[in-house]
């Protein structure tokens, strides 16, 4: 049972790293281009990102709204809505995915290391 949980956590960690981090670093829903060597496998990923692009747009809007609110609270005007902003939002989402992957890794490590942690009392046998 523990082995299954560890495998699930490892797959989750990998999925988050490969899918979530890449997607967010590209600014959500961006089509992958200029990748001639890995074009075929990445086409599949690119299609998936495209299908999620509306969700990515929603995430961007939520994050940009939060940044605007913080900036206005500090007396600044809202940052310009230029090409940089989605990428900035994506980078913050990237660290969220990193955090989730780290927690999954930590739980897997704790599960693996659990047995070593149990104190075993060795009683000397009288001969």
């Amino acid at each position: 049972m523990k082995g299954i949980v560890i495998v699930i956590l490892a797959c989750l960690c990998l999925a988050i790293s490969v899918v979530g981090q890449t997607w967010s670093e590209m600014g959500f829903g961006t089509v992958i281009t200029n990748t001639s060597m890995l074009e075929d496998p990445l086409k599949g990923l690119s299609k998936m990102y495209d299908s999620l692009s509306s969700k990515g747009k929603d995430l961007q809007d939520v994050f940009i709204a939060r940044m605007d609110k913080t900036a206005q609270a500090n007396g600044l005007t809202a940052p310009p809505a230029d090409d940089q902003t989605p990428t900035v939002a994506g980078r913050y989402a990237y660290i969220l995915f990193v955090a989730i992957a780290m927690v999954a890794s930590a739980v897997a490590i704790i599960l693996i290391g659990r047995e070593d942690a149990e104190e075993k009392t060795v009683l000397p046998v009288k001969k």
Binding site: R66, M67, T70, A71, A73, N74, G75, L76, P79, Q84, V88, R91, Y92, A93, Y94, I95, L96, V98, A99, I100, M102, V103, S105, A106, V107, I109, I110, G113, R114, D116, A117, E118, E119
Partner: protein
């Protein structure tokens, strides 16, 4: 001091229950409560690495960028880091929140050391060095707020100068040292940057003093805890991204700022006390007296209940000691030294106790095969009697 003993016992009991609960979830190998000293150290490394990255792009000047867009000053360099550099905002947020986390974990460490009584006798060095380290960390964090050079930075700088002004001639010297001159100039920001980085490296020396009297100090939490701490910090960075305030303008007079309670609480205190007559002097009196009280906590007799006097160090029975060095090897506190045996002895070495390091734990008594070490207030006969009583009570 009955209420004090009751408080300590109550806190101990509550934390033991929390420990038991966390042990059931994490096991004792990964229980974060067992690494309360190592956690601030972990955040210190995060601060060093993130600070190094920020330092690569930071420019410590106050030139008025309102005059010309071509002028690059501290605020603009921080703005460039946050909004233009890839992951610059993330690194900046990580640096800021790792600092807050470091102060939080230091306070948790202090509280736990206090109510588990681990500051007594020879551990006074760790306690006093810890108080010094805490104030160093607080000052380093405050200089970090000055470096952004937004309106908050300007207000904090002016408040610090006001606080120094209350100290008379000594305050004038401190003010000149603080500003690196008589007024706020580019040299002031260079000074702040020097203090922020230089004092951070001085922390390493302070930590050496803090660790050197410990035996086998745990400096690094296990990787699983490091991942969780890093994940929590990144989550906070995601949820509360950092932005600067408006760029500082020396012609303006800001009066309010966004408070970070972990580092800026002295400014909150000063702001509230300065309005009173002689408020600034009272502020300094509170800060200095508070520091002295903190440093006096390990003083014997001050907080130790009279019913529990400090235990005496172990003693070596000279005519029984064979110099085998078992006690020397087993002592967890390096409180035993092997010295040449006196002339005429059959043996080469003799064990000697260093009383200022001894915590009377009794490990040496157990390790000695010749009954040559004893605790004067807890002899073997007394221990055996207590064990028999406990066994009898349990039956």
């Amino acid at each position: 001091m009955g209420w004090y003993t009751g408080l300590i016992r109550g806190l101990n009991k509550a934390f033991l229950q929390l420990e038991a609960g966390l042990n059931a979830i994490f096991t004792n190998k990964y229980n974060p409560l067992y690494y309360h000293g190592a956690l601030p150290q972990f955040f210190l490394w995060v601060l060093f690495l993130s600070g190094l990255l920020l330092f690569a792009y930071y420019i410590p000047t106050i030139d008025n960028a309102y005059v010309s867009k071509a002028v690059v000053n501290s605020w603009k360099s921080v703005d460039y880091i946050s909004n233009s550099l890839p992951f610059g905002g993330v690194i900046r947020g990580l640096h800021r929140y790792a600092g807050d986390a470091m102060v939080l974990t230091i306070l948790l460490h202090t509280i736990r050391v206090w109510f588990t009584d681990r500051y007594r006798q020879y551990r006074w060095v760790q306690w006093i060095s810890g108080v010094v380290l805490l104030f160093m960390v607080l000052f380093i964090g405050q200089t970090g707020y000055y470096l952004v050079w937004d309106q908050r930075s300007l207000l904090l700088t002016r408040m610090t100068v006001s606080a120094f002004d209350a100290l008379g001639p000594m305050g004038g010297t401190l003010k000149t040292l603080f500003l690196n001159g008589e007024a706020i100039t580019n040299l002031t920001l260079s000074n702040f940057l020097f203090i922020h980085i230089g004092l951070s490296f001085a922390l390493l020396f302070g930590l050496w003093v803090h660790y050197m009297r410990m035996t086998r100090p745990v400096l690094t939490p296990p990787p699983a805890i490091n991942y969780i701490m890093m994940a929590l910090t990144l989550l906070v960075v995601f949820l509360f991204p950092i932005t600067s305030g408006k760029m500082a303008d020396l012609n303006a007079a800001p009066t309010m700022f966004d408070m970070d309670i972990w580092f800026l609480w002295p400014y909150w205190l000063f702001a509230n006390m300065a309005a009173m007559p002689s408020g600034a002097i009272q502020f300094w009196a509170v800060m200095v007296l508070g520091t002295i009280v903190l440093c006096l906590i390990p003083m014997p007799g001050l907080f130790v209940p009279k019913s529990q006097p400090p235990v005496s160090a172990a003693e070596v029975v000279i005519n029984k000691c064979t110099g085998c060095s078992l006690c020397y090897n087993d002592c967890p506190f390096q409180a035993i030294e092997m010295v040449p045996a006196p002339a005429g002895s059959r043996f080469k070495l003799l064990a000697t106790i260093l009383p200022y390091r001894c915590s009377s734990c009794g490990v040496c008594v157990g390790s000695c095969a010749f009954d040559a070490v004893d605790l004067p207030e807890l002899t073997d006969a007394q221990v055996n009697t207590q064990i028999k009583q406990l066994l009898g009570a349990k039956a």
